[in-house]
């Protein structure tokens, strides 16, 4: 004989509405935490990975790991500038930018609490190297002046960073003449000004990084080998994409490990809830089970029916939790990336893969919680069932 119809299973859940609701709510909360954490970790990763361009190469001092640790003297930067593999733009300018990058402790809007903002010295070419960065308000800063442009997230988050306002740091007042959209990348959390002006203001004698575009992407390995074997240089070259990926690794990993551990612990609570519900469901329907068996339904059919009921319950919880988590996509948050020590704004990001992972996680909870009760239901003897009813 075939299995029990799905409508029978679904109706059983409906009959015990309050219990179903409470159990599903518990599961939904666990699923919500699980999904949110994955979305957060993915958001950080996506933000930083999108910051890099495939053809761009990032040069830092060997072993520095991050831009703020790094230092490239002018002589060394000039040697990098003379590489033949660098692309040129329509005006014939070499696509290479020598950039000082400093952390600046500035007060946040609202709370007034200071937080670190990355200040980058760059040039017109620097903007050209990052096609995802677009000015949305005002204009580009003029070379040789104390003008800066601010990333969207900085404008929103920090005092004095809106168009026309001015910020005081490094002994000068800097006027914000433009706001740029970094296209959901790490640049959104940066302030950009003229490279040489920044060097003077912050009294730096060395650049932090040199970024250039390769004319031919395949030439990377040769360029890297050339740079790193040059005895005059103590530099290392990385593809920009790879560099930013590394910057996100620790934070993204920390969040996902912390979150997954928490969800697994929390899921014990939800599984226990499902188990209680399903045991009660079995206990209150002993007579029914006996009747079904007497009608000729097999043990496996009874087991499958109860297991399906539990899975359906967890699916409901999973969908509610996922729906709640998807609202988090509207939230902008920022935190300090402890690898770069600077503020990073990002968004929760829901990908199909995360949605799938979340639902599988929910179903697993339902399976674990429902299996033992369903097993017991399947093992009951017909005679005992009917006698008890």
């Amino acid at each position: 004989m075939r299995g029990l119809p799905l409508s029978y299973i679904a109706r059983n859940l409906w009959v015990r509405r309050v219990t179903t609701l409470l159990t599903a709510a518990g599961m939904a909360l666990v699923v919500y935490v699980f999904a949110t954490v994955l979305m957060m970790s993915e958001g950080i990763r996506a933000t930083l990975v999108a910051t890099g361009q495939p053809n761009n190469v990032m040069v830092l001092r060997r072993g520095a790991g991050a831009e703020i640790n790094s230092g490239i003297a002018r002589e060394q930067a000039a040697i990098v500038d003379s590489l033949p593999a660098i692309a040129t733009d329509a005006l014939g300018r070499r696509l290479l930018s020598k950039e000082p990058v400093v952390l600046n402790n500035l007060p946040k809007r609202g709370s007034g609490k200071p937080s670190n903002v990355t200040v980058r010295g760059t040039s017109e070419v620097g903007l050209e190297l990052r096609p995802q960065v677009k000015l949305i308000e005002g204009r580009m800063f003029r070379a040789g002046s104390s003008e800066i442009i601010a990333g969207q997230a900085v404008t929103k988050g920090f005092q004095g960073a809106s168009l026309g306002e001015s910020m005081r740091f490094a002994g000068r007042d800097w006027t914000v003449v433009g706001v740029f959209d970094g296209g959901r990348t790490g640049f959104d959390s940066e302030l950009w000004g003229d490279s040489e002006q920044m060097m003077q203001a912050f009294r730096r004698t060395a650049f932090s990084s040199v970024v250039f575009r390769l004319a031919d992407a395949d030439a990377f390995d040769a360029v890297k080998a050339g740079l790193e074997s040059d005895p005059r240089l103590t530099l290392e070259a990385k593809r920009e994409v790879r560099f930013y990926e590394e910057q996100s690794e620790a934070l993204a990993k920390f969040i996902s490990i912390l979150g997954t551990t928490l969800s697994v612990i929390f899921s014990i609570g939800a599984i226990v809830g499902a188990m209680i519900t399903m045991f009660a469901a079995v206990a209150s329907r002993i007579g029914e089970i006996g009747t079904l068996r007497a009608l000729g339904f097999r043990r496996s059919a009874v087991l499958a029916a109860f297991l399906l009921e539990s899975l359906l319950l967890s699916l409901a919880g999973g969908l509610v939790g996922l729906a709640a988590a998807s609202f988090m996509q509207a939230v902008d948050i920022s935190t300090t990336n402890f690898q770069t020590f600077a503020e990073l704004a990002f968004q929760f990001r829901l990908t199909p893969q995360i949605a799938l992972q979340t639902l599988v996680f929910a179903l697993c909870m339902g399976f674990v919680g429902g299996f033992i009760p369903a097993w017991r239901a399947g093992r009951l003897k017909i005679v005992d069932c009917l006698r008890e009813a």
Partner: protein, 385 residues
């Protein structure tokens, strides 16, 4: 007494269900406690800070150094009793995973400013004498199995090259709050090496640690210091050690807020589970409650039965959860090593765990208690199972 017996019998009528609910409670209360302890560990540096120490750093940000000659001028400021300085070394021991803080300090004055690092005279002298020496906290030494006399190689990220230090002493914290996961080396040695190799990077310090005579004057003295260097090439920002440590904590505020929110979510989850248990229990006993009512017991009595049972289960689970937390925290502490310098379940956390259990018990019984106190006797008696 009779009532209590009734509650106990009632609570364990469905042994399996009660046991499962309690397992859930234990996990939830324990997870809640551990999460709060992790949050507390984050703030440990703040708790351990002294009110008689100020930190002076560059006004731009911590990554900008200050000139060494500021030390003399700081000493002249009214209210300042001693001055020491430190540089963040940022070395890697074997791999990035073995992270621990290293500071290059001016040893004699630094150790004098940090009396909570209890170092034997013999170790102290050995450290002061050896410019390539280092001292570490007990916890750090235990983690890597270092003994006095060992060589500790570090790969520099800020200061390039491989550096090797000889361990000259191990300090113990004066109490549980003291950070025992740091390593201190000689600033002078670092400075000389830099001068020999790079020339212009020498004679700079990361932060000044300033000892003051009167904690109440901290704000005033900070202002005096910052005014002294106003409009100079390197302006300073001076704050109490506590504020300095807090600024680190607030950097990861978003994550901390999330962890805190999550710690309450687990309580909500278990609330749903427990409420489910109580609702089912009440539904099954409908006929009994109707009988009790027929016998003349007031609706309040029935509510009390349900509340009592719910609270009993919640409290048993809560206490068990609390008892499990302590050994688990100890295991956790071992596992994370120096990641959290201090990891302790506070009294407040324990109190909160118990109150959380109580709230769960109350809320879970609220709906069924209200329903059951209002049941119609005839309907209740008609109800089967």
């Amino acid at each position: 007494m009779f009532l209590f017996k009734l509650l106990l019998r009632n609570a364990f009528r469905h042994k399996l269900r009660t046991a499962l609910t309690m397992v859930g409670l234990v996990v939830a209360i324990c997870a809640f406690g551990l999460l709060r302890t992790i949050l507390g560990a984050w703030y440990a540096g703040v708790e351990a800070s002294s009110s008689t120490r100020l930190i002076t750093r560059s006004a731009i940000s911590l990554t900008f150094p200050l000139p060494l000659n500021y030390a003399q001028r700081l000493k002249g400021v009214d209210g300042v009793t001693s001055v020491s300085w430190a540089n963040w070394f940022g070395g890697i021991y074997i791999t990035e995973r073995n992270f621990f803080p290293q500071f290059a300090v001016e040893p004699a004055s630094y150790l004098a400013l940090y009396p909570e690092y209890v170092l034997s005279d013999e170790h102290r002298q050995a450290f002061l004498r050896d410019r390539k020496g280092a001292v570490v906290g007990r916890k750090l030494a235990d983690q890597f199995g270092w003994k006095v006399g060992d060589q500790i190689p570090l790969r520099g990220t800020i200061f390039p090259g491989t550096w090797s230090f000889t361990l000259r002493g191990i300090w113990d914290g004066i109490d549980d709050k003291t950070d025992e996961s740091q390593m201190l080396i000689h600033w002078g040695y670092l400075n000389e090496s830099l001068r020999a190799r790079l020339g212009r990077r020498a004679d700079f310090v990361g932060v000044y640690v300033v000892g003051i005579d009167e904690p109440n004057n901290a704000a005033l003295i900070s202002q005096r210091i910052d005014a002294l260097f106003k409009n100079s090439l390197a302006e300073t920002l001076t704050e109490t050690e506590k504020a300095f440590q807090l600024s680190f904590v607030s950097m990861s505020e978003a994550i901390l807020v999330a962890v805190e929110a999550v710690s309450y979510i687990i309580i909500l989850i278990i609330m749903a589970v427990m409420a489910n248990t109580m609702t089912m229990t009440a539904r099954e006993r409908l006929a009994e409650y109707a009988t009790l009512k027929t016998l003349g017991f007031a609706p309040g009595f029935i509510s009390m039965l349900l509340f009592g049972e719910s609270l009993l289960i919640a409290l048993l689970g809560g206490v068990a959860g609390l008892l499990v937390t302590l050994p688990l925290a100890a295991v956790f502490r071992k596992a994370v090593g120096t990641l959290f310098p201090v990891f302790q379940v506070s009294d407040l956390t324990m109190a909160l765990q118990l109150s959380a259990a109580l709230v769960v018990g109350m809320v879970a019984a609220a709906w069924p208690a209200w329903r059951m106190s209002r049941i119609d006797i005839v309907q209740g008696l008609r109800h089967v199972g």
